[in-house]
């Protein structure tokens, strides 16, 4: 997704330089950036909640063996 954004931004940049960047394109751009950011945030949140569950009983039993 980052590669897509980079590509689009380079396109906007060239159009801005040529004076051909349009308002409808920029409205779409804001919507695209917003959706991409929210997707990235959601993915990061899901990654964070799928951590390995610690088995505390097993950990304690390992201590008892010391």
């Amino acid at each position: 997704m980052q590669a897509d954004i980079n590509e689009k931004v380079q396109e906007w940049r060239m159009k801005a330089e040529a004076g051909t960047l349009t308002l409808p394109e920029m409205r779409e751009a804001i919507a695209y950036l917003r959706a991409s950011r929210k997707t990235a945030t959601e993915s990061a949140r899901k990654k964070g909640t799928s951590k390995k569950v610690i088995n505390s009983k097993q950990l304690l039993s390992e201590l008892e063996g010391l």
Partner: protein, 346 residues
Amino acid sequence: MREQGIITQEMREELGITPRFPEVIDSSMLSAFRACPYKAYLNYFEHWHPKFESVHLVAGGAFAKGVEIARKAFYEDGNSPETSEALGLQALIADYGLFECPPDSAKSLERMCGALEFYLCQYPLGDDGAEPITLPSGRRGIEFSFAEMLEKVHPVTGNPLLFSGRADMIAEFAGGIYNFDEKTTTQLGQKWGLQWDLRSQFTSYCWAGRRCGVPMQGTIIRGISILKTKYDTQQAITYRADWELDRWEEMLYLDLTRMLEMWEIATYNQNLDGSCVRAGNPWDRNTDSACNDYGGCQFRQVCKAKNPYSILQTNFSRRVWDPLQHREVPIEEWEANLALEAKEVK
């Protein structure tokens, strides 16, 4: 007597450099002078600036432009939030231009576009609690510029010196009037908000507001951190009481007196067209922390060189920042304009 490591009149004449005392003082110049008068002299009297643009300045400037245009589109032109955001993004992209971001910096054009979208989502136009004030001229308090006449005069022209500044936004918020300032950064955190309580820049805005009949309670600073994979934001409020504004003004005049005294020390001739001839360089240097603050003073190598101009000519170019017009011009254009003005006066 020191003869090496300083700029001499012979060196200046050889390169055709004429230092000029500025007509307009601003917060950046004051800050530089307080940190190191020599730095202020090189930056603002001889107008040396690094040849290569700083990513922080380019990115920060583009972001500010985007926010300014979005606000003006919404509050002054009555556009919808969606259209205003789009216009802001268009302005950011145009302002960033073709600048090549260093590979290790998070402030690429892509990330700055994302930062603007994030900011306008966190602080929605028309729905963030801040309503730009309406000035007597009918304009809104967006990118509000001021230039206040001081009681010190220019040492050559005799014109009153001016103190100028430009506030991002002056708005009503929670029953009071505040200056709003956006700061892009790579790091926020617990201590981020504490650094603004004595910031001279914000005191100067409240001081100018008091003089203009727009009394402000203080400044609300919105920090936006831009990292390679995420954004974050923090708001801080810093207040200014009347006695702090009075103290700021007193310090301003003390610093101006010192600046003028340094200017005068080796002046033995004065021409009415604003040039000055000096025998040496009395400007003090701060060879302490100011050299290392904020990633290092841009003139560190200059202070290490036996012949400062050898480094200045290689790594710097001369450009003049006009705080009233809020733009940078090459030294040649600026001096040509000065010569034209001098002719018109005669």
